[in-house]
């Protein structure tokens, strides 16, 4: 299926939020990568990319965590995460953490070059064939900030969704506007965060879509939390679930 | 105790660290000032002159500026009188004592009261020349001088600018160069003759300070009118 001759060896970087809150996204990612002809491993030594520490100003711990991640993923052709945020942390920020340690910086840059967000990897690297999924749904897509601005993820998920039979994509007025999650921001400045996501959910509701998709669990938990509080029936899912045809389990924040 | 000037410079030089004594620095500054190189120029106004005039006209009109094209200087007083009539304005004009404006055949319009000098609170309509016009953005370039008081550009409700097509240039850079060339005298560098004030005017005065609603005529002229004299006249 892939245009690459020998099968690429890909490591899955699961991300904390998928690991804890939505294992199905991890399995959907596995399926998409395998369907596209990759040999996928899930290194057991992985934990977190360190972004919470990094954005909280705890640089010392960030560097220690980054070293762990670099070591855990050294032996693979590619590393893929179902997240633009964790992907951006590793691809965009790791090299700068080691400005004073040339050897580690080289290793960080090496990982950076092999690190990809899922939809970007499928489209830009594998140039994968259309996915085989089917779903009768009117969906809208939220561009998560890190994926969009650090990794240039914008057209790729839309291109892939375009190949899902039955999916109709309707755009929000401002799909690129932040949902207000912001990591620890959403709890530290909860009221402000809630206000931002309330503008977002109004935009989402205005599309008339019955499903909201995005590529990052943080944004998805935030938007689902607000939509459910508002009593909205809009289903919230990670885009990987739709692309992998794995939409049989309850949507985020729902039980059936 | 050292002066504030010395202390500011000491901090700046400390911030420049090891580069501070690099002899290339003063040379780079002198060179940049002397050659004042142009940075990237947008394509938009890189046009033959006639098209620059058309672009200028389109740009100012989009800013609610009215343009009255005339064949020659002799037509100017009549067209100004028409403008006053159209806007129900008294026939009193405060005019810049500029050679071009003073040479206009005002006497053919005896109803017009012409008064030369700077802007006063009672002045409703001013007539001034401009130094150049910039097609890229529809901008007028005006300067202070012994014959062009700048208060005329801001005090009256209506500002009428008499402009020749040949004064239209493409970009700000070209307009600045024209002024440099004009000011350069054999005994003096252009910069020594640089005027007190250079005004770039792009449309009439406006504000959006109340709820973001655009309103014309905040403190400066409510209306800007250009009488554009054709080349060769």
């Amino acid at each position: 299926m892939s245009s690459i001759d020998s099968k690429p060896r890909v490591a899955l970087f699961v991300t904390c939020l998928v690991d804890l809150f939505r294992p199905s996204v991890g399995f959907a990612t596995l399926k998409l990568l395998e369907d596209a002809g990759c040999v996928v491993s899930v290194p057991e030594a992985q934990v977190c990319c360190g972004q919470p520490a990094y954005n909280s100003g705890d640089r010392k711990d960030t560097v220690a965590i980054a070293r762990q991640v670099i070591e855990a993923f050294e032996d693979y052709d590619y590393v893929v995460a179902p997240s633009g945020s964790c992907g951006g942390m590793i691809k965009d920020h790791y090299p700068a953490l080691f400005a004073a340690e040339p050897d580690w910086q080289r290793r960080a840059e090496d990982l950076s070059a092999r690190m990809f967000e899922l939809t970007s990897f499928l489209v830009d690297v594998l140039k994968a064939d259309p996915v085989a999924a089917k779903l009768e749904a009117k969906v809208t897509y939220h561009d998560s900030c890190s994926g969009l601005r650090e990794l240039g993820v914008k057209a790729q998920p839309r291109a892939l969704l375009g190949s899902v039979e039955g999916v109709e994509l309707v755009e929000m007025q401002t799909p690129e506007t932040c949902c207000g999650f912001g990591g620890t921001f959403c709890v530290k400045y909860g009221e402000v965060s809630t206000d931002i996501v309330t503008r977002k959910t109004a935009d989402i509701a205005g599309t008339g879509a019955d499903m909201l998709l995005a590529g990052d669990m943080g944004c998805l938990l935030n938007m689902a939390g607000r939509l459910k509080r508002e009593g909205s029936s809009i289903q919230v899912r990670h885009v990987a679930e739709v692309l992998a045809g794995m939409t049989d389990m309850p949507a985020i924040g729902e039980s059936k | 105790m050292s002066s504030s000037r010395d202390r500011i410079f000491a901090t700046l030089r400390a911030g420049l660290k090891h580069t501070v004594d690099d002899p290339a620095r003063p040379a780079a500054v002198a060179e940049r000032i002397a050659s004042h190189p142009r940075n990237l120029l947008p394509q938009r106004a890189q046009l033959p002159h006639a098209e620059q005039v058309a672009l200028f006209t389109a740009k100012v009109e989009a800013l609610t500026v009215t343009v009255d094209s005339v064949a020659g200087v002799a037509d100017v007083p009549g067209r100004i009188a028409d403008y006053l009539a159209r806007h129900n304005l008294p026939s009193r004009l405060r005019v810049a004592p500029d050679p071009l404006l003073q040479s206009l055949p005002w006497s053919e319009r005896p109803m017009l009261q012409i008064d030369y000098g700077g802007g006063r609170s009672q002045d409703l309509v001013s007539v001034t020349p401009a130094f150049a016009a910039i097609a890229e953005t529809g901008t007028l370039m005006l300067q202070s001088s012994s014959t062009t008081p700048t208060t005329l550009h801001f005090v009256p409700d209506h500002h009428i600018v008499v402009l020749k097509e040949s004064q239209v240039t493409g970009t700000l850079e070209e307009a600045f160069q024209r002024l440099r060339d004009k000011l350069a005298k054999s005994d003096k560098d252009w910069v020594e003759n640089w005027p007190r004030t250079v005004n770039f005017v792009t449309g009439p005065s406006r504000t959006a300070d109340i709820e973001g609603v655009p309103v014309l005529g905040a403190h400066g002229p409510r209306r800007l009118h250009i009488v554009l004299i054709a080349d060769g006249a």
């Binding site: 199905s24 399995f27 530290k188 | 300070d209 109340i210 403190h219």
Partner: protein, 479 residues
Amino acid sequence: MSMEVTAQNFEANAAKALRDPNLRKAMGIISGPMASRRVETARELPEFEALRDEGVKIKNHVLQHIDLYLEKFEQQLTARGGKLHWCRTPREARETVLALCRSRDAKIVTKGKSMVTEEIGLNDFLLEHGITPVETDLGEYIIQLAHEPPSHIIGPALHKTREQIADLFEEHHPDYELNGKKAGTRSTEPQVLVTEARSVLRDTYFRADVGITGANFLIAETGATVIVTNEGNGDLTQSLPKMHIAVSSIEKVIPTLEDLSTILRVLARSATGQEMSCYTTLSCGPKRAEDIDGPEEFHVVLVDNGRSEMLGTALQPLLRCIRCGACMNNCPVYHSVGGHAYGWVYPGPIGAALDPHMIGLETARHLPNASTFCGKCEEVCPMRIPLPDIMRHWRELAHEQQITPPLQRWGIEAWAFAAKHPWLYRLGARVAIAALKLLGKDKGRIASLPLASGWTDGRDFPAPQSADTFMSQYKKRSH
């Protein structure tokens, strides 16, 4: 009028702002039309992105040679008959301006818009010394009447509704007559209100003894200061009185007229979505002997206020800022809380990056934290200032210097400890998600979590899909 620091109360300020219906209406204007006009005019200039790069290059060049360009500026300004006053501190700058005003025996001074004069608290100081400053920019005039600080660097009164403005005008010019008729019930039409402000201020321009403006740029090549405005008030302020004082700051120096031309192309587009602001004026020295009008004296009060210390540090890119306001026009946090919540002169992302340096990290510690790091500010900044990186720099300093509250610090360190010990992390994760799964019961979400009330006050908390993590499920599957 000059700015009292309330940045330390960001949370309370924000809570108040979120409940202010007028502010919310105003923020709709900023996030809607103002932000979209920027996009439209930028689109009409194919070279816009390349011009941003050119602007960055110019400013970076200046910063590598700033001492030399400032010397050149001083030399040229002096040669044209102007006088330069170097001021390290706000106090020094206030006193310099006061002494200049007194030398003219000034009673009334008109003022064009200037953020640096807000920074140095000039208005209150002049008032205390018997001199009446009159703000002439419409927005600044409105908030001066209301005794409020600006809430936005280019739209200072955007948080006021037309009704509030009409009430302020009724209170402050009750005798105002329009076309010979007393106004009576004031119209709330912006056009009518603008006309009223115009005619009330008209006389003041001519009566003022001194005119004070800011300066967007200082041109080393000619010794000129530059103001960029739309209303024309700045020009009336600086051309009618006998003395013109331009209050500016050291980082505003640029080399040449060509560099000015380049930066002007990105400034107005980024600020208001115009191609050019209505009035861009270069002022150079006092009126010449042969001139018909213009001020007899021209002074430039050049304020440092900590800027020189930023050179050669992580904060240096902030010295590229041209004060266009695009970062706040596009900031989701600013759209929620407005400018006053930030509690000092510069709000929004630029304030979050700059204010900790100017008023102290301890006082301003919330500002760099109150960001989602969405990166939109850096995306729109014409000078490509890495605002999120600079905010993160402040977070790092706050963590190091233990300015971050202990609970947050310990929380992140405990979490990081676990992240460095995968077995501990997996154990903790299993306990946590099992508990959350239980709390989610059969609904798939949790309505209230006392330890995360910041989240659950306004949102449900989606429960984990399973009591088992991905890693654990994956392991089971592959064995």
